[in-house]
C-alpha cells in the first residue's frame, strides 16, 4: 500500500486491474486505491509476474502493507505461498512498520524555513528530481508522481515560501526571487545538478532558475506542467478569487476550474485548502504572489527568453481542458520543447493523469 500524501495512514484497493499470472512492467496500472482523501491508480515500479493478490477489495490496509506479490515466473510456488502467509499474518497482527513514505524535513534557505519531502535513493548516474508546486499548492500535490519517480533516484518535493509547511513570508514573491530560493535549496541540500519539475507558477520558477547565472550547470532538464510564463493567457479571476476566498462557499466555485472532472473538488480538498489559507501570513503571501503573476487579466510573467537560453531537454505536459493557464499558451513552447497535450486533464495533470506526467519526466530525465 503506497503512501499517497504525507497524512495517509491506510487505503483500500477498490479494483484490481491485473490478475495472477499477468506479466507487468514499469508503468503497468495495477489497481485502483481509495484513501480518505483521494482515489487513484497504482502504477507498477516493478517488472515480473503477478504471483499473488494478497488483499481483498474494499478492505482497509495500512500504508506499507503487502497487497500483491510480484516475482519472476521461475520462483517456486511454495516460496510465494510463504511470502503471502507472512504478509497476511502481518496485516492481521497490525505489525506493519511504515517507512516507505517520503521523509519530511526543514532547512533554512536565505531566511526562509523550507519544508520538503525527500524520497528514494540514487547514484551518480541518476541526478535527483526536484518538484516545484504551483500557486497555492504544496509538496503533497506530487503524491501520485514522486513515488514512481523515486524508484531509481532521489526526489525532493519542496514547499515554496508562503506555502505548505514552509515559513509564510514570500519577500518580493516574484518568479525570479522564488527561483533564487529554489537554487538556494539545491545548495542547502547538497544537490549539484537536478532535473526540475514544475507545475504552473512552479514551471515559471524552474525555467527562471535554469536561466539564473547562479543556476548555470545545475539544471539537467525541465519538465513543465501547465507552466505560467509561456503565453499571455491566465485565469486572473481564479488567482485573485483563491487569495480572497474565506469560506467553503466562496472557495469552491474557483476550485472547480482546476480539474477537468469537477468531481475531484471534494470536501477534503476544500477543507485542506481552507486550513492552509487560514494560517497566519498566507493571505499576505498569496496577495503578494498574485501581484507578481498577473497584470489586469493577463500574465505578468514571461520566461520564454529564459527557456530559449536553456540547452537541456524540456518536456511539457498540458491538460487540454486547463481553465487556469490554458493550453493555448503551449505555442510559447514550440521549437524549444516537446509538448504533450493530455485529454481528460485540466490544470492538474499530475493529479488527474499522473501516468502522462510520469512519462514526461522519464522522457526529460532520459530514463
Amino acid at each position: 500500500m503506497p503512501k499517497w500524501g504525507l497524512s495517509m495512514e491506510a487505503g483500500k484497493v477498490t479494483d484490481w486491474l491485473v490478475s495472477v499470472g499477468d506479466e507487468i512492467e514499469n508503468g503497468t496500472e495495477l489497481c485502483e486505491i481509495d484513501t480518505d482523501k483521494i482515489a487513484g491508480e497504482l502504477e507498477s515500479t516493478w517488472t515480473g509476474v503477478v504471483r499473488a493478490l494478497v488483499v481483498e477489495v474494499n478492505v482497509s490496509v495500512p500504508v506499507g502493507g503487502t497487497i500483491a506479490v510480484v516475482a519472476p515466473a521461475d520462483v517456486p510456488q511454495d516460496e510465494i505461498d510463504a511470502v503471502v502467509a507472512e504478509a497476511r499474518e502481518q496485516l492481521e497482527s497490525g505489525a506493519i512498520e511504515d517507512d516507505s513514505g517520503p521523509k519530511v524535513q526543514t532547512i533554512e534557505v536565505g531566511g526562509h524555513q523550507i519544508s520538503y519531502a525527500v524520497l528514494g535513493e540514487g547514484d551518480s548516474e541518476h541526478d535527483p528530481v526536484v518538484f516545484v508546486h504551483g500557486y497555492g499548492g504544496d509538496k503533497n500535490s506530487w503524491l501520485f508522481v514522486q513515488e514512481p519517480i523515486s524508484a531509481d533516484r532521489v526526489t525532493y518535493a519542496l514547499d515554496l515560501p508562503g506555502h505548505g509547511a514552509s515559513s509564510k513570508g514570500v519577500g518580493e514573491g516574484t518568479v525570479p526571487s522564488l527561483a533564487k530560493v529554489l537554487l538556494g535549496f539545491l545548495d542547502a541540500v547538497g544537490v549539484s545538478r537536478a532535473h526540475l519539475v514544475g507545475h504552473s507558477m512552479g514551471g515559471a520558477v524552474i525555467t527562471a532558475a535554469a536561466a539564473d547565472p547562479s543556476g548555470s550547470g545545475k539544471v539537467a532538464s525541465l519538465t513543465l506542467i501547465s507552466p505560467v510564463g509561456y503565453g499571455p493567457d491566465i485565469n486572473a479571476e481564479y488567482l485573485r478569487g483563491f487569495a480572497e476566498a474565506e469560506s467553503r462557499r466562496e472557495l469552491k466555485p474557483h476550485l472547480l476550474n482546476l480539474f477537468a472532472d469537477p468531481g475531484l473538488v471534494n470536501r477534503q480538498l476544500i477543507d485542506d485548502l481552507l486550513k492552509y489559507k487560514r494560517l497566519d501570513g498566507v493571505d499576505e503571501a498569496l496577495r503578494t504572489l498574485v501581484a507578481g503573476l498577473v497584470e489586469g487579466d493577463k500574465s505578468a510573467v514571461d520566461v520564454t527568453a529564459d527557456a530559449a537560453g536553456f540547452g537541456g531537454p524540456v518536456v511539457a505536459v498540458w491538460g487540454r481542458e486547463d481553465k487556469i493557464v490554458p493550453a493555448s499558451n503551449a505555442g510559447g513552447l514550440s521549437g524549444s520543447a516537446t509538448v504533450h497535450l493530455v485529454d481528460g486533464a485540466g490544470h492538474m495533470a499530475h493529479m488527474e493523469k499522473p501516468h502522462d506526467v510520469i512519462a514526461a519526466i522519464r522522457e526529460a530525465t532520459g530514463t
Partner: protein
Amino acid sequence: MAIRKLSYREAINEALAQEMERDPSVIVMGEDNAGGAGAPGEDDAWGGVLGVTKGLYDKFPGRVLDTPITESAFVGAAVGAATRGLRPVAELMFIDFAGVCLDQIMNQAAKFRYMFGGKAVTPVVIRTMYGAGLRAAAQHSQAFYPVFTHLPGLKVVLPSSPYEAKGLLIQSIRDNDPVIFCEHKAMYDVTGDVPEESYTIPFGEANVVREGDDVTIVALGRMVSFAQQAAEELESSGVSAEVIDPRTVSPLDLDTILESVQNTGRLVVVDEASPRCNLATDISAQVVSEAFGDLKAPIKMVSPPHVPVPFAEPLEDLYIPSVQDIVNAAKTVTEWSK
C-alpha cells in the same frame, strides 16, 4: 501546514501561548490559572482546575493571574480591562458559575459597543467548561450556552475538536467583541491533527464534517463526534447522513444548514443543552421558517430530558444524548411517512 496530533487541552494551551507571544496585550486570569506558581516552593502547579493553562506562567511572567474565588469580581475586571486596551482571557471554571457574574457579561460586556455607539470595544474572551459526563453533578455539568446565545452582543463558540479549539480560540482573542468560549470538559484528552502555525477559523462558518444525501444532522460541541459515529452506523444500514458542525452558535451559519436541508429534506439537531429553549429548538424553528417547503419529514431534536444533570452514574449516562439516540432520530425522519 506542519501537522501533528495534539489533545484538545494542548490545542487550547498552544493557542493561548501563541497569542500571548504575538500580542503583549493578551493576559490570562482565573481561579488557579497559575495555581500557586510563583509562590515559595511552587513552580507551576495547577494551570486551572484541569490543567489547561499549565506552563503559561513561566513563559509569560506577570501575565497569568490567579484570582480570588469571586467570579463577579474577576470577570468584571476582565471586562473592564478589555475596554481599556488589554485582551484578557478569563477562565470561568465551570459555565454553571455564570450565575454569579451574569450581570458583568449580560449587562456590561454585551452592551458596551451598542450603548456607547460603537466607541467602546470589549475584546474579552471568557473560556469556560460545560457538559456532562465527568460525574461532577448538577452544579458542574450543565450545557448553559443557550443562555449566552440568547444575548445580543455576545459571540458564542463551541469547539468540537482540537483543530477547531485552537483556531477558534485565536479568532476569539483577536475578535473585538466579547466571546464566550465553551470547552467540553469530557473532551480535554481527545486528540486530533493540529497545525503548528497560528491560524484562525472565522466565526459564523459551519463545517460540513461529512457529506450525505438522506438526512442532515446538525450537532454541537462534543455531540459532533457522536453524530459522526451515528453517521457511520447509518451508512451501514444504507442511510447517507450529512453532519454539520456550526462551530459558533452566535453568529450562526444558517445558510449552510439550509443548503443541506434543501438537498436532504430531513433534519436532526443534536444539542447537549436542556431541551427547552436550546439550540435545537432555535435551529429547528429557523429551518421551518426558512425552508418549510424543502422538508419531507418533521424535524427531530435530540437533547437530554428536562431535568438537572443526575449524579448517579447510570442516570448521568442515560441523560447524555447517545450515538444510538441520534441513529434512531435519523431513522425516524428517513422512514417517516404521512
